[in-house]
Subunit: 407 residues, 2 copies
């Protein structure tokens, strides 16, 4: 990949993605697939004035070894210094960059139940720190092509060529070529215009229908707001948490969801690919899941904790989005979720409550924002999907027809 | 490289190198050059029964960025959680593996003085933990070929071929092929036999002469012992701290060293190559250094702290050692120090005092073991090097003639 285009992408991630303060620390989480690009992002952070750039290195083959050989008790335990590291992060509030390059099948063969139990055991320890960080720092998830991932997306060609094609697909989907900062200003303005229209309607629910059997309604919170694109943290810093990002989303009202959602794409969850699946809701809760492949992983996921069976997000993306028009199935949520309407099981977003900073965590929960250790998106968008908003007077307003925006 | 030979090398590092207890943790420090081998060593640790395998990832390009862009104050500061991590290590005493693949010129262009000052600022914080760990855990330094390193050792050939040749050279030097465990049992017995002879003489000093101007004498401690090959920690665990290891060494008596040592090979120190250099000693102290290249790095090194100008080690290696006979200059201390007689400036070894566990740290220092934050080897062996031991009655005993052992 051309070095000028890579620098442009690094600039986009640093300047538009996290937008760090002078002297602010940055934590980069990355694998070993594109080390030169990781180094370039680090240098771009420093040139932008970062105080110190830290790294969390991740590697699925090593994760598999840890899961296979460690006792479950050990796998589910933090050392004291690791807790201190979380505390430092919650106090220092570094900006965070994730450079995702994971193999979608990278955890195949690993025991998902053992991993899930260990994760559940560790979660309560760090939850106070994660809560304390919410909306208080900038973060950005972007992608770089790992070889195993590229071979999955582009099978049957030479690995180096597959990596190059995945670079092209990532840069195109991320609107990273040309004047990327200007692309993102314009793109964010379009998202803002549509979100403003949705918010002016004060919908009480969204209704979904599609030819694959989807027939579903999710209640919305009276104080709920639709958001998308750039976000603003409590210190007033504007950042873009996802590159790419096409979605306009809100957190639905916990406990109000009925009917069947049929997934339109596979879900890659912790290295397992869940295929041809559906989720039935009653009283807001996922009460039944079916999957042609890896149903057990899905069943395990929704009982991870009390909130894992409730929705945390509904997101609207047009079928004519650049990612969807590319025709590429990325096997990666960051892209596939931005190709298609989706929902997420698990934790909701405080920021989808109007003036959320005025409320305590308990009040946020009482308003209907679900809490969980998970937040897992799955796709429901199709070219025959229709979505209506239910207005306070009971009337309906068309939002999507034939998979695309009505405004 | 053949996978069977790599597994043999991993087994050597784990079983003969660190020899972990069942359930003991292992910390692997490695770069990104040979990830498949790093993963293989991790799995070998787990199969041997390690409790948890941890990683410290190192990368010279990132180290250079940190040094270039961080303020010196920041570069010289530990976060609280990092100190907690040192405390954990000093209490838990994991076995440690270093897989060195560093580019000998990897830090070129970086500011050695800034790095040295930052290192000096950080050292006092962790010194108590390092002291507490000494002789209480097993550790092993071994090497894997990094591409930049391989190209330096084998210039003018294709990088992949250079890496393959460096693998061959590493495995040969490490006696890793065939029954590596048996090779090492035999090798350690030879080292033991020679060390026992040296120890029976109770030498008061070593005298060095060579045709390049070396004319030098170092005093030995009355309680000093020569060691080499396998070591035994205070818990009675036998381990091999260096793979390869050809040397028989002791810590000389601090304050007693006179004359000129002329280096016979370049010294790679923190990514800078110091070439054609000599060190003059008076009263045990390095009082003058000269170098054709990077003299400033050397001058900085010997004033790092109070003990950096005093010797911590003298080591005896035959010119007919396998590494030296290979004719390869590795530009890496682990190999080059095992090709040739050398000395080290800086910290000495407690374990070179007979029954060291009976003495306090203050008593160890009073006996003549130097203390410093550095321990840097440089080579003085040549095919005309003569070494004599000075006996308690003032007579001399030949130890080396024409660069090789007399017994």
């Amino acid at each position: 990949m051309d070095s000028g285009r890579l620098q442009g992408y690094a600039d986009l991630i640093v300047n538009t993605g996290i937008n760090p303060d002078p002297g602010q620390d940055v934590v980069i989480t990355a694998g070993f697939d594109q080390l030169d690009f990781v180094r370039l992002v680090a240098e771009t952070c420093y040139r932008r004035g970062a105080g110190k750039v830290w790294f969390n290195w991740t590697d699925m083959p090593l994760e598999k070894l840890h899961c296979q050989y460690q006792t479950e008790a050990r796998l589910g335990t933090w050392e004291a210094w690791e807790v201190e590291k979380w505390r430092w992060q919650a106090e220092k509030l570094p900006a965070r960059i994730w450079l995702d390059s994971d193999d979608p099948d990278g955890m195949a063969g690993s025991d998902p139940e053992k991993r899930a139990r260990a994760q559940m055991a560790k979660f309560p320890v760090i939850k106070p720190f994660r809560d304390a960080m919410e909306n208080r720092h900038q973060w950005c998830i972007a992608a770089v092509p790992g070889e195993a991932w590229a071979r999955k997306v582009f099978p049957g060609i030479a690995p180096t060529e597959a990596v190059e094609r995945l670079w092209e697909a990532i840069l195109a989907a991320s609107r990273a070529d040309g004047d990327a900062a200007a692309n993102w200003r314009e793109h964010n303005a379009t998202i803002r215009r549509r979100a403003d229209i949705l918010n002016r309607h004060h919908f009480t629910a969204l209704r979904y229908r599609a030819g694959n059997g989807t027939d579903f309604e999710a209640g919305l919170m009276a104080q709920g707001v639709f958001a998308g694109g750039a976000e603003t943290d409590l210190a007033g810093r504007v950042f873009n948490p996802n590159i790419p990002s096409e979605e306009i989303f809100t957190t639905p009202r916990r406990g109000v969801a009925e009917g069947l959602l049929v997934a339109s794409k596979p879900l890659s969850y912790q290295g397992s690919l869940i295929e041809d699946f559906s989720v039935r809701f009653a009283g807001g809760r996922a009460v039944e899941v079916r999957a042609a492949r890896n149903q057990a992983v899905l069943e395990k996921m929704i009982v991870m904790d009390e909130g894992a069976a409730f929705l945390g997000e509904v997101a609207l993306i047009a079928e004519d989005s650049p990612i969807n028009r590319s025709g590429i199935l990325f096997y990666n949520t960051l892209f596939d979720e931005n190709a298609s309407c989706h929902v997420a099981l698990g934790r909701g977003f405080d920021m989808c409550v109007r003036d959320y900073a005025r409320y305590s965590q308990d009040e946020i929960r009482a308003l209907g924002v679900n809490d969980s250790m998970i937040h897992v998106d799955f796709m429901i968008g199709r070219d025959d999907l229709e979505i209506d908003g239910v207005a306070p007077d009971g009337g309906t307003v068309p939002i999507f027809r034939r998979g695309n925006w009505c405004f």
